[in-house]
Amino acid sequence: MKLSLTRRYRFSASHRLHSANFSEQENQRLYGKCNSPYGHGHNYVVEVTITGPVDPSTGMIANLEDLDRFVEREVVEAFDCKYLNEELPEFFTTVPTTENVVREIFGRLKNFPTAQLERVRIEETSKNSFEYLGEPSGAGQ
């Protein structure tokens, strides 16, 4: 039997999908409405899944207050009410698609000290979600 625990967090942020590798017309064709020059925003939901043995003295995989503090510090404070393209250095040159956002957030959370990070899943809207489980051992990330 394997146990995991998932907690959901939220942040709101704006972004614009635009790549310097493409012309204005190509960006417009590729990203459509998401290429609008002033950006637009979402209420992102971040699902964080941790796994590991349950500590018999607490009945928990990890203390939720520890997890909340860690995610709050590493992700929510950094992303909430920000324009991802211009306020997070990771997205100065990388397009802040939610594929790239989920990988960035996984990287920020993978060193959670008291349990193993298994998965990060992001709902960009109620209709779109993206998940990342890390890369297989030996593969580049």
Binding site: M1, R7, T58
Partner: protein, 149 residues
């Protein structure tokens, strides 16, 4: 392979307390959840069974049978109960989401006779849930093995 999921709900009380820790340690580790008067949740349980549909019925298993099983094994035991005091399967354990999900897995595992129990997901609230799954894939390998961040 097809996965079939059935959802049920139950409401129960609990609190977190480890008698081998001091009162101060209990308060520090468990915070508000250590309140000895207890508090409650509307738990939502999703049980997933995996298997191949029977060609004669088109079903992995009879959902009515699964519904009755969940009512008998889970809802009748846990609904409107205090999990610390009234559920023998949790005796001696702190009734965290992880431990309740594991207890439900152990209750259901021997009773699923068509398909195999694939996952027990227990929501304590819409923003917190525990998953209990087999620690082996169908091919005998371990899920997640060899994955790094």
């Amino acid at each position: 392979m097809i996965r079939v999921t059935r959802k049920v709900e139950f409401s129960a009380a609990h609190y977190y307390h480890n008698p081998s820790l001091s009162l101060e340690e209990n308060r520090r580790v468990f915070g508000k959840c250590n309140n000895p008067h207890g508090h409650g949740h509307n738990y939502v349980l999703e049980v997933t069974v995996a298997g191949e549909p029977d060609p004669a019925t088109g079903m992995v298993l009879d959902l009515k049978e699964l519904k009755d099983l969940l009512q008998r094994e889970v809802v009748d035991r846990m609904d409107h109960r205090h999990l610390n005091h009234e559920v023998p399967e949790l005796a001696g354990q702190i009734p965290t989401c992880e431990n309740i999900a594991a207890a439900i897995w152990l209750l259901l595992m021997p009773k699923i006779t068509r398909g195999r129990l694939d996952r027990v997901r227990l929501y304590e609230s819409p923003d917190l849930f525990a998953d209990c799954t087999s620690d082996q894939n169908a091919d005998g390998s371990r899920p997640g093995a060899g994955v790094r961040g």
